[in-house]
């Protein structure tokens, strides 16, 4: 009979492999803020843009929601995280910016400096 600690380690390993199976390591990870504050600032629309792009065949992207990181006046925020590169954090993302993040950053690897949170 495994101990609770052994069981939880097994559960963690399973969780990690499920996450990796979804492309966690091999892709660009996109996190869209979806707390009450972010949603109030318009993040549902932003999420929709990313979801649509993924359903229309945008590959190599791991799309996830996230809670609020605390940067209220720059919400909605979106992070693009890629192994071996500095994490990129965008502020005040609306539908149009989301579309451009897809075209310029996710498809072409260009970091759009003027929207970065510093």
């Amino acid at each position: 009979m495994p101990t609770p600690l052994e069981l939880i380690r097994k559960k963690r390993a399973e969780a990690v492999s499920r996450i990796i199976g979804k492309g966690y390591l091999s892709t660009k990870r996109v996190y869209v803020g979806m707390a009450t504050c972010e949603i109030a600032a318009g993040s549902k629309d932003v999420m929709e843009v990313f979801q649509k792009a993924v359903s229309r065949g945008l590959t190599d992207v791991y799309l996830s929601q996230k809670g609020c990181a605390g940067r209220c006046n720059l919400e909605p925020t979106v992070e693009v995280i890629e192994a071996g590169k500095s994490p990129v954090k965008y502020g005040k993302v609306d539908k149009d910016r989301a579309q451009q993040i897809i075209e310029r950053h996710l498809k072409n690897g260009e970091v759009i400096n003027e929207w970065l949170i510093d």
Binding site: L7, A15, G84
Partner: protein, 597 residues
Amino acid sequence: MNATSYRIIFCDGTSCINKGARKLTALLRGQLAKHGLTDRVTIGLSGCLGMCEKGPIMVVNPGYTIYGNVTENDIPQIVEEHLVNGDPIARLVIQEDHLYNRFFRVFGDAKFFGKQMRIALRNCGIIDPESIDDYLSLRGYEALARAITEMTPEQVIAEIEKSGLRGRGGAGFPTGRKWKLTAAEKAAPKYVICNADEGDPGAFMDRSAIEGDPHTVVEGMAIGGYAIGAETGIVYIRAEYPLAIQRIRRAIEDARAHGLLGKNILGSSFSFDIEIRLGAGAFVCGEETALIHSIEGARGMPRPRPPYPAAVGLFGQPTLINNVETWANVPVILLDGANWFRTIGTETSKGTKVFALAGKVVNTGLIEVPMGTPLREIIYDIGGGIPFGKRFKSVQTGGPSGGCLPEQYLDTPIDYESLAKAGSIMGSGGMIVIDEDSCMVDVARFFLEFTQDESCGKCTPCREGTKRMLEILTRITEGKGQPGDIEKLERLGGMIKKASLCGLGQSAPNPVLSTIKNFREEYEEHIHEKKCRAKACKSLVSYEITQKCVGCGACRRVCPVIAISGSPKSRHVLDQNKCIRCGMCFNTCKVEAIAKV
């Protein structure tokens, strides 16, 4: 030769500074210039990274390489091998697996986040709050499993006690002692409650914590249940937080499905489950005895203590109540250890505190900083200072129970005792910055209006006293203040503090008393000179149209009482007898031709 752009962060905590971190920064700048790297290597500073014993610490991004015990001799090698050739230096790398570090990994290079330290909010913003897999992958529920497997309930309590954690809801009672008292009670069943009845105006720490990382609260509560011998936990959360409710509910269901809540957790003999109770949003229900009454189905009113809920709580049984943020700290203490947790913070206040930074600051937001961080650092380094070049006037901490501190207290380190000594309180974490455009009498009136409205009416000092204080404050702001009003407020405030039944009344006069103490001259001006220096009190300002007027007629059109007249392209005139001082003309004028006097 690689062309990567690097971002280097030096830990700028006290310990690292003492070990020479700032000298290293200067040295590195020189080396960067020498190698022509200034274009693609930038340097930033962070607050304490919690690795003091290995300082000075520097972090190189991308890659999140952490170098520890860095000396002046190491800098040239770091530049040549890592920054020029792209090879990290193995002998300097330190492996750190503290839970807070994962947030820093993503956000640490941004100035707003660099000075923060996220323990309670460690996962907020970096995981999907609705995915138990995400939480599990970051050592979620390991603290609970460790407690059940390796620790007796007494050992868990001893660890929490040793950590120095104190209640984050406001009063700052030592958490370990509370657990011990509840554990010592013989009666069964016992209950564990999470107080998520966040009511301070403008505060959203608990909402954000639950929306961003609900599982940490669930795990913390389960550990609490194990420690005191309870099998039922209740999250008391206000119905105004639908998304937080949805996420905590989902977290509870997912945890149940994984055998992390319910009967025989992870195959052990420990059983624990959590229910959700919704509050209707009364401020007083954040007070623990009122909260218990509300869960029981009675009116949310406090009762005298003792007996404390630890002995006589929910349904008359021993009950352990902690706030959301307190619960969120618990798993970290068990995983990273009480000894590590104790290294963060000050002598009497360990760990970090979450604040909702709002008001007149450039960067408003939710922040978590080590205890002992000076107010100035929060407002200027993290908050980015006061916008539009205005002057700082005061910072209000602790919400409607707290006080307003003026400029001379800006170097006060944030901890329970220092804030109390300065005349305010830690509270649950509201922090409102006030600039020169706000009138302190009006600010005090605003907070008192809130507490007066929320007073449950059970005890006379709070019910009647706050009402009378509000009347006096209102007449002062209307220019009808009388000599002796300040003294009356002080006397009344003192009495309410002493005689009220619960924390709501005992702290309600604080905003008034602290503004009288620190801004007495503003009260005096209102009463004796009928003057409001901030020009915020409507009855004490009047508007004038100056010669800047271009005669566009915009003010004439918006004036609701037709007090403005004038023909196109000529200076308009305002009839003071008709003017109701609504300020519409002031807000409408595009050429700043309307002056407040």
